[in-house]
Symmetry: D3
Subunit: 289 residues, 6 copies
């Protein structure tokens, strides 16, 4: 009798209460950061997602892919410019964004997940007009084809989940005129979680969560109320990467999502650690104002 196997069995048994708690629940995961770059982390996320599906949870993945876009733009000698963290996106850039997000990043995620269980189907905002977008207007500068979510048409997601699949969503929206828009994936994830009334929205990032004082690693906030979030947003102290995530948490919770999380995706199996342990990891935001 292998001692390791005995321990394995006990770990499985230990997971039972968490499995029961999340059975049939919807969890929207914004996938990004290093977890989308590092080969081992990518494997780790893929297996986590398949495992979640097989124990009865319905994970839904949303992703962007800024690094890949910049890389290809540079290769094609295109100028890369950001205003307030938003990429200035001319017509040609938009075409590139879409090709990279939908034709490269999305399918890489889909393929990786499917190697662990044939469950992933990639969609973008065009498919069944999942993400209807409109131009995002900044008073000071024309960002081009940067958009914001006007409406989520969730039928394709509900059908795919009902058919036993896990949707993987590229954050590209489609306008009334058929024009594509580049939309921040954090906000897309929040809008989708809100439309689906998901139980959980999880942001995978490269830091451990929100800090009281970002320079003091011991000041990690493990739980935060929606009211605290509002203040945080007003304080103007969030860095430009964290800002849309916190905004997304607010959007989701105001849209009846029960809990939102900001996790460190560079920790292997961070999704499982959040779901299958009492203490969880990262920062959890709840509706209590």
């Amino acid at each position: 009798m292998n001692i390791n196997n005995v321990m394995r069995a006990e770990v499985l048994v230990h997971a039972l209460p968490y499995i029961k708690e999340y059975y049939g629940k919807t969890v929207v995961i914004k996938y990004g950061g290093n977890a989308m770059v590092d080969e081992k982390l990518k494997e780790s996320v893929a297996t986590d997602v398949v495992l979640m599906k097989y124990v009865g949870i319905n994970p839904i993945i949303v992703h962007g892919g800024g690094l890949d876009i910049t890389k290809i733009m540079k290769k094609m000698k295109k100028d890369v410019q950001f205003v307030q963290g938003l990429r200035i996106t001319d017509k040609e850039t938009m075409e590139l964004v879409k090709m990279v997000l939908v034709g490269k990043v999305n399918k890489e995620i889909v393929t990786l997940i499917n190697r662990h269980g044939r469950i992933a189907v990639g969609v973008s905002g065009d498919d069944a007009e999942l993400i209807v977008a409109r131009k995002f207007i900044l008073p000071e500068v024309d960002l081009g084809y940067v958009g914001e979510v006007e409406k989520i048409n969730p039928k394709i997601l509900e059908d795919l989940v009902g058919d036993g699949f896990t949707p993987v969503i590229a954050s590209v929206g489609v306008g009334d005129d058929g024009q594509s828009y580049n939309i921040n994936a954090d906000l897309v994830a929040a809008e989708i979680a809100s439309t689906l009334k998901a139980d959980k929205l999880i942001f995978l990032t490269d830091v451990d969560g929100l800090y009281k004082d970002f320079t003091d690693k011991s000041s990690l906030i493990s739980e935060l109320s929606l009211k605290d979030c509002d203040e945080l947003l007003k304080s103007n102290q969030l860095d430009k990467g964290m800002l849309p995530k916190v905004k997304g948490c607010v959007t989701a919770l105001e849209g009846d999502v029960k809990k939102a999380h900001i996790l460190n995706g560079t920790i292997p199996h961070s999704l499982l650690l959040e779901i299958f342990t009492d203490e969880g990891i990262g920062t959890m935001i709840t509706t209590s104002r």
Copy 2:
């Protein structure tokens, strides 16, 4: 970050291929021996069963309860007599057998499982005439109300499983005339596995499996063909406890069950060890003749 939690996550991920393999499969478990006596083992079996259910497997439990019957018979100063391992069962004994199996043992198992997940429903051969029995005839002696399976009416099992429940079955049969019969639980488990065309039949026993030479603990047989079983049965060397289990394996495999197993139920989480490891435990019998 807790080192234990990271290991937990890895164990869960390691279980994924097994979860996928058994997803939607039916596993009939003959529950018995020490695993039905020892408090910790009982807990262990209950959690294993609930976990199996939650990861998509359909476990079906069959049990006897000879020890409890004997204990109560002695308390009531009834004479306890066996012929060829079969309990001589007069009218009053049959009533006691049924009260103990159905009213005590069955409900204890049901209650224990339900404390880990509200999924267990106890049934006996009377319910929806699940187990139709006839008198078992020995030429040399009248065993009274000892029966053998005439027919399994599986509708109630299929319906309970379809409704999300795990049936727990007391091995009492009902005759055409409404008379109850005491039937060996090993054979009931085999007939049910065969009728349901289960993927697996597992016997929980107090030994590690079948041995080439029972006195040599190193001679455990890890895999056996149906043909080997036939020879083993002809050899007349099986002890009277193992005999119905080996017969049950043959019945099940001949009835299109894919694999039959004889496990040591005194090992904690023996069910999980069998299902969630490559090497499995105990003796596995397969159809190759």
Copy 3:
């Protein structure tokens, strides 16, 4: 042409309006008294139940079994003690109660019904945690494991009825800690009727119904309002057998059950007489206050 057959046909035709009235309706029947002892009455109830099922009614049976319990306790030389009509139930007694109710009485009823139509499935409060109980507290004396209903989990009943079965329920409850409790079957029947929003709750007793003056057999009350019941309960004149039945009627009617009945189960086919005749039999209680 046989005159009897012609009459038979006319009786069937005469039953049609009643069949139409009760088509698809749920009727909870508290089975007890002599109707559970006398062989002919037992047959009579079994056929009535199967007939009800086949003409489209959904009967649900609830039973106790005090007489059998007392008989076995005496056989085992256990002391039998009642306080206010409630059996003092120590640990060992509780085990006996359960063995008798679940392993003997319940299965006898199930088997008898199934001989007329394979529709009966026995369940107790443990199964799928149908009857969650808590200890019943009397200020003056510790009754041991006597319980009261905390919650009915009706899924198993709804599923069995949906699958075409007739549930037969032993009035044993299960506590949060897995402990069994002995609960008055009249009150269990009332709580189940109320949870299922049954159309009818019927108590089978050994008397014709409620009387204005119990010593005057001509004073039988054929119809009673809920308000009259309240007064009857305040009057303290009900005997200890009738008390829980009248309380049960109030519970049921307050829980949206349409009508409650107290019938004489010693009259053959009393269930059919109540359902298939205009005048009905016994005492009917309705919601008009």
Copy 4:
């Protein structure tokens, strides 16, 4: 306690085995003769049909209406002519036939049944092209629009039964060109029973059944094999009213209908007498050759 009510209950109980036997079965009834004329018999058939439906049987009614047709033709001073029992049917007559069968007789039956239970829906061969007909050719004479069944399209019947209705079918067929044809209702009933693979086909007539010697009332044949029928048909001794019924029995039994019956519909509740008694009434024809 009313003695009559007790007897009623016993009759109901006595009916149970028959109810169980016919539960979910399809019974095609050719309605005709005096049972379609006499007010009391009409009521009797209507209640029988509703009762059958409510105890789980699926009755399907087929009718003709020769008497009504003749009556109206005479009123309109139309010439009434028969050849070999078949009405010579010119264009105008065909229109009258259809108006009488579909617009009068069919709806009278439907209305009568519905007064006992809102279950009847009338259809004719036109509806969803239930009865596709072709011209029936006699070498010696042109019968006009007399037809025979070419094909039954049973979808409308299956759907109506699936929706809980009882179809009442007027024996008018529709040709490929939309032309209506007058078809013998006995043969339509047989073809429908055969297409639906009904369990029973029942002909309601004005005589007790088939006789060995028609002049000897004591020679009624209670059971007949398909082989006997063949001989009977060859013998040329059947009168022209009975001929299509016996042919219909042969068609039905050859088409996998289990039993065919020729009953005396002038006996009140003859349908119930056939179905709810062991001895049945009339002549039964079975497949044993």
Copy 5:
């Protein structure tokens, strides 16, 4: 390449927005006037109905048949009398009305539609008691069996539509006592549209619609509010044929039907012209008051 075929394709494409708009919608069509007499118009309506069905619309046809009734009455030398546009209907006339509407007109429509697609099933008010009627009382004269709608039982219509059929409804009602009543088909159509909460009610007539000034053909009203209708009804200027149509429009719109139309059915394919063009034809009445 045939120029005609190219144009055909473009017309189909042009129809797409209309097909999308009416997909899954219910349209009640009162069929009458010349469109029910002229052979070519009859074909035209039949194909329109089948086409509507095949592109996803659910048409429901209601018809009367006054001309046919009068013709047959005259043939049978019956006196034909009208009071305020209502036919005085004695017992014998009622029987004739029903024979003509149900046995002739209804089945002609059904057969004609089925030649273009096997979808039509004829029903009258008797079937499943679709149209429950009561006697229509005029103070000054007894109209006999002229009725008005008391209640629509829509189950048979919903079931037929659910099964893929198109109901064709003869405007004959049935009273509580089983008596048939002759009801104005315009009002029946309106009540059915209202009960089904149809999207559209269309009256096929012999004029182009409502006129401001009936003598001035250029004064056709293309759109009318419910309020205008009220005034029109009060003005007493509507002719006796148009009166029940306008009343029907009001009934329907007050019963949540979205739009009502009065069309000229003598224009070939008037139904398609109304549904598949922006301008539509005839007079449209909408709820804006």
Copy 6:
């Protein structure tokens, strides 16, 4: 009354027999050539597809996109090389191929269709492992990541169609190791048609069909047998663009597809012309050998 509208109505009516014929049928369309380049033709195909869907046909689109790939490769100064009509595809080229096919071409088609009806969902071989591929081996040269179909997993297509969507498929396959392969879209279309047992496979090309003598435009073959195809393939006279189409026709017909077509997609509404006219257009290949 607008003369055009009347003609429109008649065209719709004329389309009915074709609509009926194709109702519920599956049509796989290989989309390519000029019809994928010219703006008006693109609109024409999109409307044709939506119209087909709305009249009950299930179109499934498969596309490649060689021109776009070459254009982007040139922009990125990549060397473009073909061997026997197959693009030599190194790792970087494969990434580009996928980005262009999945991220650009596929979504353009999806968006265009959705502007006419929200029905299109784009998938590639990665999604739910729809197209499992293996390396295509040429003896003389290593083509890199050029693949051939090993297996179609049709579940995602069946589910999307069942949910009311029209799948649009990019012809990229996925290998066992997760590697992407560039596969000829003609052959993918044929394999998908064959796996789905489609009723029709249609290739949209830039020529009118197959010719007896390609230089003689009057020698267009309007119908061809499978046997003729075999000979055509052996004759080695097909140009390299037509070769995979003819091979695809053979694959499809051998896989139980009823008819295969090679059409001129530069004719507006060529799909409708094929489906909604008797003569059809282009070359039709049928199974008669």
